[in-house]
Amino acid sequence: MDAGLALSTVIAAMLGGAIRVTTPFLFVALGEMLTERSGRINLGLEGTLVLGAMTAYAFSYATGSPWIGVLAAGCFGFLMGTLHATICRLPGVNDIAVGIALMLFGTGIAFFFGKPYIQPTAPRLPSISLGAWTGDPRFEQALQINPLFLIGIALAIFLAWALKNTRMGLVLRVTGDSEAAARALGHPVMLIRLLATAVGGFFAGVGGAFLSLYYPGSWNEGLSSGQGLMAVALVIFARWDPIRCLYAALLFGAAGALGPALQSIGVTQGYYFFNAAPYILTLFLMIGSAGSKRALRDAPGELSLTR
């Protein structure tokens, strides 16, 4: 295979891979961003993601409609978020520790009830072809876009607008920046955080649905490999801004697609190393962004993460 062809194959595979791999990152990151803007951190979204993947697959299999699966995943994510917020509102409870516990709990439920769904095939989400104009089958395949990806982009834009321009967005930001100010203004702080965490859980559940219903497109216990966790780091890197979450998710998606893309042209050496690329990237981004003054300035004031 000559070098030019190999390169364009890798680029096509990375583009397609990035679009596919980005979606779960994007949904979890938007959910985490919403939760953290209310002043709380939910590390349990990894568990929510796995649970969402399992419920989406199970409901899609049982009802024959993948969209019902997506909705069910969101609802279970909503419940997990509600549980997190309910425990965290008790005085003296550490939100980071609760997140770790819910990571274990969500994974436990998903594995426990997911056993019967490892074998059967559930109807998967459809995709939209946007690549016909390229006339290159590799790019056509890469541009098979899932509607959830487009919904995610629309959601990021909507959240950016809503946080800036609506009353609800303002109330959320006040709660996240200063609990005392929110209380003084008469806002129900705990209720706002509950809603922000629950809706954040809903998004993470939908992100999980993408994993099992589109790419990789089946349910098994090794489905999520820390995407939920990386999304938490991604939110710090994106400095709590929905649009920057979108860019960061694309970057992570491209990093995640590197291993499979190289494999597609026969480079199998170092497969595990390239699979670890997103974790290494996350770590370096955190080293670069966590201590910086800019990140600290943009962080919600009530967040225990950056203290």
Binding site: L43, P91, G92, V232, Y272, I280, A290, L296
Partner: protein
């Protein structure tokens, strides 16, 4: 509330209550609340089993039988408890400094892998003692470095230690897989990709009279040593102050940065030691089964033990027993292998919710009502 604030409020109570009475009350509080949390999660899990049409009585009977009922099950339990004690220490030591570090799994995997890699050129070389000393030192050093990185990043770059330790765990597993499936794969091994196995005579032997390896003794010694270090030395006291209020500790002239680094190095070395024994006494070679979740069970055990090194021992044995009973529960009751994981997750959630009761129950804090506004 921090420990310091707690002891401050305890001091204000001493006018009304004698000193040892407060100690007894605090001690029984630290014992009663986790036990109550355990019982509540057992109850919730029973309801869950009933809803599935399974018998809770049979479930707990099988845990007893599979974990503690016979000599065989005891050795199975202790075999699992030993690494969990060490990974729990890897959580408890940084917790004393106010750090939530959960990278035990990564340090165990990488420490174990290092031990296996060091052994490769020396297998069958006739100097098993030299080999084991080098393996042990390598595993501890790499484990220490792995958690120490997260400690340094936290101290000097402000990187959140919870997220970085978890990421480092994923990276550690990837590094092991990279070598085990590549450069260090033993071509003679017909099963899944592994490094070259130790010869069976070169493995660490069993303790006299019981079917458990020496790792258990090392784990118990480590728990006691960490207890002495963290509760009975100036180093431990300095750590506690730094964990309570880093700024106050700096004002006192305490080297907070150095304390964080040393504590995280010790924590990582504990997990690395667990990895060494998994290689030297259990598996004999490094492969994917090294990442079997001992690190994650250790997190739960450390929290349930209230981050106390001595309490870690019984709690680790309890969860070792539950894990040991997993197989028999699977076979006899037809429940999936994730049952143990689910029970652990549920216990963890209930336990953290129970943290809210510390300092609020009048039984243990006679003046609690008036203390709080």
């Amino acid at each position: 509330m921090t420990d310091i604030a707690r002891s401050a409020s305890a001091a204000s109570q001493s006018v009304f209550d004698s000193d040892w009475m407060i100690r007894v009350r605090r001690g029984s509080e630290a014992l009663a609340i986790p036990i109550a949390a355990l019982l509540v999660s057992a109850l919730l899990f029973s309801i869950f089993l009933l809803a599935l049409g399974k018998s809770p009585a049979q479930f707990y009977q099988l845990i007893w039988l599979g974990g503690f009922g016979t000599g065989f099950s005891w050795s199975n339990t202790l075999l699992r408890a030993a690494p969990v004690m060490l990974t729990a220490l890897a959580v408890a030591i940084p917790a004393r400094l106010g750090l939530t570090m959960i990278g035990g799994e990564g340090a165990l995997v990488l420490g174990g892998f290092t031990a296996a890699a060091i052994a490769i050129p020396m297998i069958g070389g006739g100097a098993p003692i030299v080999m084991h000393v080098l393996m042990f030192a390598g595993a501890l050093a790499v484990g220490a470095a792995w958690v120490g990185i997260a400690g340094a990043l936290r101290q000097f770059r402000g990187v959140n230690e919870t997220i970085s330790t978890l990421l480092l765990s994923y990276i550690a597993i990837a590094i092991m897989n990279f070598f085990v499936e590549g450069a260090l794969r033993d071509p003679a091994d017909p099963n899944k990709p592994s490094t070259k196995a130790l010869e069976s005579v070169e493995m660490i032997g069993k303790l006299p009279g019981i079917d458990v390896h020496w790792g258990l003794v090392f784990a118990i010694v480590a728990c006691v040593a960490v207890y002495v270090l963290m509760f009975r030395t100036t180093f431990g006291f300095a750590c506690k102050i730094a964990g309570g209020n880093a700024r106050a500790a700096l004002a006192q002239g305490l080297p907070v940065g150095r304390l964080v680094i040393v504590a995280t190095l010790i924590a990582g070395a504990c997990a690395g030691m667990a990895g060494y024994f998994e290689i030297a006494a259990v598996h004999g070679k490094a492969n994917a089964s090294l990442a079997s979740g001992y690190g994650f069970t250790g997190i739960l055990v450390a929290f349930l033990a209230r981050q106390h090194p001595l309490a870690i021992m019984p709690v680790a044995i309890l969860f070792g027993g539950i894990a040991a009973a997993g197989g028999i529960i699977q076979r006899r009751m037809g429940l999936p292998d994730a049952t143990v994981l689910l029970l652990q997750g549920l216990t963890f959630v209930v336990l953290l919710a129970s943290e809210t009761f510390y300092g609020r129950l009048t039984l243990f804090n006679p003046k609690a009502r008036t203390d709080r506004t």
